[in-house]
Amino acid sequence: MSDVDITTGMGHAGFMEESPYGIPSGKLAMWCFVISDAVTFSAVLFVYGYLRIGSPDWSTPFKFSPTILNGIVMTFILLTSSLTMLAAVEAAKAGRKSAGFGWLCATALLGALFATLHLFEWGRMIDDGWRLFQNPLGGSVHFGAAFFSITGLHLLHVVGGVCALAVIALGYRRGGYNSIDVEVTGIYWHFVDLVWMFVFPLVYLMNAQ
Amino acid sequence: MGKAFGAVLIIITVVSTAVFFFHDFGGMSLWLPVDASEHGHGVDHQLMETMYGSGFLFVLSQILLGLFVWQASDRPQGWKYRIFPGGAKPMVISAILLVGIEILTLSFVGSKVWAGIYFTSAKPGALPIDVQAGQFAFYFRYAGVDGKFGALHPDKIDEGSGNFFGLDPRNDEAARDDIVVATMVIPVNREILLTLHSKDVIHSFYVRELRLQQDIVPGLMIPLHFTATKTGRYEIVCTQLCGLGHYQMKAYLEVKTQEEFDKWLKDQEAAQ
């Protein structure tokens, strides 16, 4: 993202055509990435739906406690992190550097907490005998495959996002990144949050006992 | 250069089209084989309609291109270009009208042909034949005297001892008289209902003379029904890439008269 403000589509009206959306190219590219990534998630969720409909012996193993409860807590954490991200963007826009840095760190920490809880959840499932290719309940083996690949893909996005947030936060404090970079990271983070809003009901709630 | 281009293009067009009219080269026919099925004439008719429509477009556009390039070759220095009469509009309108009408007709008529093959189900009394595709052969199963197919047990498949379908005659009486053969023998003018399944990867059931092609997908039982109208010996080939022996995966289809077929079936039943 380091080349973002160089090629900013605004602010050089004197010698360049206006961007049709009036947003910096970094932001434009992030929106495009989000669209493409949304298609990727849709494809994986499509696979999940396709196999689930095709499997008469689909397992619905999740108990309210601990799995669903854990999921609700995770959802809450991720939603909160979206709020802190908003605050970070607001602060950065207003030029309140230390506040922006603080909110960014908070967001990253919440993201890391989410990932940790998620990994605990995975650990519990693996202890119960769930694998990509194995269903301890004897039902469709696709449950493990779909669960781990979808949540894994999402987890990968969260972990990537946490790393990006950390880099951006530090860079922002040092002055290497500006408010637009923070905003662009924010778009990504909200997207990760939004995807979870699909993953949680489809993968967790629909598979509750 | 332009004349050369125009000439070459027109020669290419003429030669390409000529093969359509003269496609028999002494033993080698570059055309569809005889149609031996009830629905085949619909397919052939649809194909000929498309051939005339698109052939016309092909010849017209290639010749026009060749002609225009030919014309464009020796124009004087300082030539002031001319715009095609009417500009882009006649192009757009003619494309939409010509192609639009063509595709409307084609999809209406074509859908009917397609529907005739695939939207209908076999009539009662159709002869059921079970088709097992595997790397790299087809096997066919007739229900035998009891008229019932034995259940399939993939774990029982043992090709070396001739159990291609995974039958369990020890425990399953219905399976004992099932007739398993490597050549599909059918009576002429009687509807056949195939149930296609594969034991390993995707294969395809293709008989040129029946104008039929259907992938055989493992995990699915795909029904396919047809009526053969001409006796003869045809080839069933696999058209879906299935591994090293793909090009040798085939079986013969023998369409016999009802009497010949009955006799053949009796012989097979006796041999069980």
Partner: protein
């Protein structure tokens, strides 16, 4: 960290300048170079395949060295034939047809044509090339791993591609590498597409409104949007395929499979699922290959017709319509796949509808040729050739779009002829046109026209000799992907295959004239002026080759439509886009 690309300063070291360069021009050339390597390999593979098809017991000297098990005593085994076919398809579709017209020329000329100093994200641009290069290496590695290259075709239909070695030779590590390679390739294409979109929308110089962008820029832009969505589906599909192979999942593998008398451990997956995912990408991919080609040809043609094309807005509309429709038609690859026969009609109609914008575009080109005084050069000949092969390839689409005819023609050489003409040969003609047209700009030297014209005639007549007979083979029911024709009804057709093989050898050999011409011209060709073709778009308003920041620090201002040919201007019969003069309508 955040200085402008044009303020980066020109790098001096060899590595920063030519290898890990952030300069879009160098990256464009790298893509084209990679494409040339891939196309030479792909073409040699097709020679080997053609030789085998013509004379199936022929010993091809040296083949045993390439693969001792694939060609014992230099005679090709059927599995090696299929492996070569798979590698040919994969190399050509991904590393040639996607890389050269889109990523190669697009990288080089998109920023210049919109008047930008570089891509929006130069470093990401460099990364996307090197990721592509990694994908290429991973794919080529499949030639040398135990078990040999994959043999399941460029479509890699599961379960053949998913169950591993047990389904036969060519399904070992090579297939896994194939899946990884394509997944990596998807990442590179996604990065590239982001870059192209941002550059097109945000980096246009003053006066370069969207309406004034050249056809090629439009085509690259539309292609990026298609690619952004298409590769996003292939990426997870490939990853799931690799998981099926290495992690024991069963996404694409149903239960109860018995391969070589052994029960497979998989259960419950769906082979059709892979086909849906693959073709959801696969059909747009066809347009990813052909749209840039259409754009390039439409861009080059007016410069040699010396007149603007008919209906430029209509043409761009056609490109957009083709791109949009490409997402609704993937099922036409699956008419006989066992998919619900009702959906065949649903997929057939939009497929037929695509022929409308395609026909409009074709008629616009033909109509534009009318009344022109053509300057015949290699570039214009290849453009005219493109129109011809595009017609020939497109027409056969009428047949294959209809399920009732596809039930006969599916998986025959008719299909081979169709997609080679419309996607392969047409796009390659556009690439040749692009190289003859743009090489003077890219390296500052003109190409030899005489060699180029010999190359054109041999190629043009050659491709018709190769692919036209295939239509008739298909009508005779000649099944594709067969290593040899042993069936009773196929054996009599072998003489046609021998004819095609000879044509392919000659046509292939003619490409070495082109390669020689390319190398010779690079070093010995006459120096090119700034605007040798008297063309109008922005790339001709800078030196040949352009300086590091494209315009030597100048900020161009665009005053004109892109194709003002045949009008009186200060420079002759044309008016550059940068020219401030007032032009009267023709």
């Amino acid at each position: 960290m955040s200085e402008a690309a044009h303020q980066h300063g020109e790098p001096t070291g060899f590595i920063r300048k030519y290898i890990f360069s952030v300069d879009h021009k160098v990256i464009g050339l790298q893509y084209i170079g990679l494409g040339i390597v891939a196309v030479v390999i792909g073409m040699i593979l097709s020679w080997l395949m053609r030789l085998h098809l013509g004379w199936s017991t022929l010993a091809i000297p040296g083949l045993e060295k390439l693969s001792p098990t694939g060609a014992p005593a230099n005679v090709m085994t059927p599995e090696y034939y299929l492996s070569l076919m798979t590698m040919h398809g994969t190399l050509m579709v991904f590393f040639v047809l996607t890389n050269v017209p889109f990523a190669g020329f697009g990288n080089y000329f998109l920023p210049i044509q919109v008047g930008a100093p570089d891509m929006a994200f130069p470093r990401m641009n460099m990364m996307s090339f090197w990721v592509t290069f990694t994908a290429f290496l991973v794919l080529i590695a499949a030639f040398f791993v135990p078990g040999g290259p994959p043999l399941s075709g460029w479509t890699a239909y599961a379960p053949l591609s998913a169950v591993g070695e047990s389904s036969g030779p060519g399904e070992g590590l090579g297939q896994t590498l194939w899946g990884l390679s394509i997944a990596i390739f998807c990442v590179a294409q996604l990065l590239g597409a982001l870059n192209f979109i941002a550059t097109t929308l945000d980096l246009r110089t003053k006066g370069m409104s969207l309406a004034r962008m050249p056809f090629s820029t439009w085509a690259w832009f539309i292609t990026s949007v298609i690619g952004l969505l298409a590769f996003a589906v292939l990426l997870p599909a490939c990853i799931l395929l690799v998981l099926d192979r290495v992690a024991g999942t069963s996404f694409f593998v149903p239960g109860g499979l018995v391969i070589n008398d052994r029960m497979q451990p998989h259960t419950g997956g769906s082979p059709l699922l892979w086909q849906h995912l693959f073709w959801f990408f696969g059909h747009p991919e066809v347009y990813i290959a052909i749209l840039p080609a259409i754009g390039i040809v439409s861009h080059i043609l007016p410069a040699f017709l010396r007149k603007p094309l008919l209906g430029p807005r209509v043409l761009i509309g056609c490109l957009a319509a083709i791109g949009f429709l490409s997402y609704m038609v993937w099922g036409h690859h699956m008419f006989v796949s066992g998919m619900n026969p009702f959906s065949a009609i649903l997929f057939s109609v939009p497929t037929l509808v695509i022929t409308i914008p395609a026909t409009i575009a074709t008629l616009l080109w033909i109509g534009s040729v009318y009344g022109a005084r053509i300057r015949f050069s290699c570039a214009s000949l290849f453009c005219l050739g493109f129109i011809s092969v595009f017609i020939s390839g497109g027409i056969s689409g009428f047949f294959l779009a209809q399920p009732s005819i596809d039930t006969y023609l599916h998986a025959t050489y008719f299909v081979v002829a169709h997609f080679h003409f419309v996607m392969g040969v047409a796009a390659i003609f556009a690439m040749f046109a692009g190289i003859y047209f743009w090489l003077p700009k890219m390296v500052g030297r003109m190409m030899n026209e005489t060699l180029g014209k010999i190359h054109f005639w041999l190629t043009f007549v050659g491709v018709y000799c190769i692919f036209m007979p295939m239509h008739y083979l298909g009508l005779a029911g000649n099944v594709r992907r067969y290593a040899a024709f042993t069936d009773d009804f196929l054996a009599p057709l072998v003489p046609v295959h021998q004819f095609i093989t000879i044509a392919a050898l000659i046509t292939g050999a003619a490409q070495f004239i082109f390669l020689y011409n390319l190398v010779w011209s690079r070093f010995r060709g006459p120096k090119a002026t700034e605007n040798p073709w008297q063309a109008t778009s922005l790339e001709w308003s800078t030196t040949s080759p352009p300086p590091f920041d494209n315009f030597g620090g100048r900020q161009l201002v665009v005053h004109q439509e892109p194709y003002l040919y045949g009008v009186e201007g200060s420079a002759g019969d044309y008016v550059m886009q940068t020219s401030p003069e007032t032009v009267e309508a023709h």
